[in-house]
Assembly symmetry: C2
Homo-oligomer: 157 residues x 2
Amino acid sequence: MKLPVSTEWVLHCATTLAQLNPGATASTTQLAQYYDLPAPYLAKQLKALVKAGVLAATTGPRGGFRLARPAASITLLQIVEAVDGTSPPYECREIRQQGRGALPPEECHRTCILAAKMAEAHEAWRSSLAGVTLADILATLPPAAPSRTRLRLSGTT
Amino acid sequence: MKLPVSTEWVLHCATTLAQLNPGATASTTQLAQYYDLPAPYLAKQLKALVKAGVLAATTGPRGGFRLARPAASITLLQIVEAVDGTSPPYECREIRQQGRGALPPEECHRTCILAAKMAEAHEAWRSSLAGVTLADILATLPPAAPSRTRLRLSGTT
Ligand code: FES
Ligand code: FES
């Protein structure tokens, strides 16, 4: 069970964008340089965040990305699921209904207890990540962090 | 983030073995026929369960598998981690320390807050599965299930 490597990228890029001044944006190039990431692949991930409603993209020569919503209403779950999708890691293929031990259909109206327990565990994971917003993350940063982030991101240092 | 298809197999096989009479065993062939699974690949997974201390293997012509411990002390987590491993799905590669935004090492003594939150979510998943034993699963089966399971598993019907 593995999350894509880009999960770390998008969590950090979203955290970085959450530190911009209102109305400001950052380009793919700026974000790629900030974290030394491959720009073309990062661009794909940023697009996925736009599609998921986490980021907004502005076009034009000075275009770039900003948060689509306030940091307090963007959760880590939304960011992770934007790049990894929402399908649960455990897949039940109803093996209880096949082979010599096959249960009759009338005993299989309810979800198999094993599938149900695996789904509960996935929900526990989801709730944990749904309980953390970008605002919560920002609140843990040192007070001087956002201005330093903005300075380094713009590349004007 | 995907668990291997064999996760469902081992959860069900362990549940099946938990329904045997004390001292009884079932072979790979019997389990494979019970769920219509490819025996060679199932054999590998059962070996992983033995290695993890979930199952015990007896050798010889009447050899087979049984639970290595009481059903009440085998958790779904142990079964799942036996086949999928214990490494967490999220991998932090310390991107906070690379690129133009690289933080100085002295600001990176603590685990990155994003990595910490991802680890918490994984722990929530683990606790959920660690809280369910095979005995809990058996307790949800209809009273007639274990004897039917034994009959069909032995293939003498
Ligand atoms: S039939 Fe799929 S988990 Fe039981
Ligand atoms: S440096 Fe890896 S999650 Fe922050």
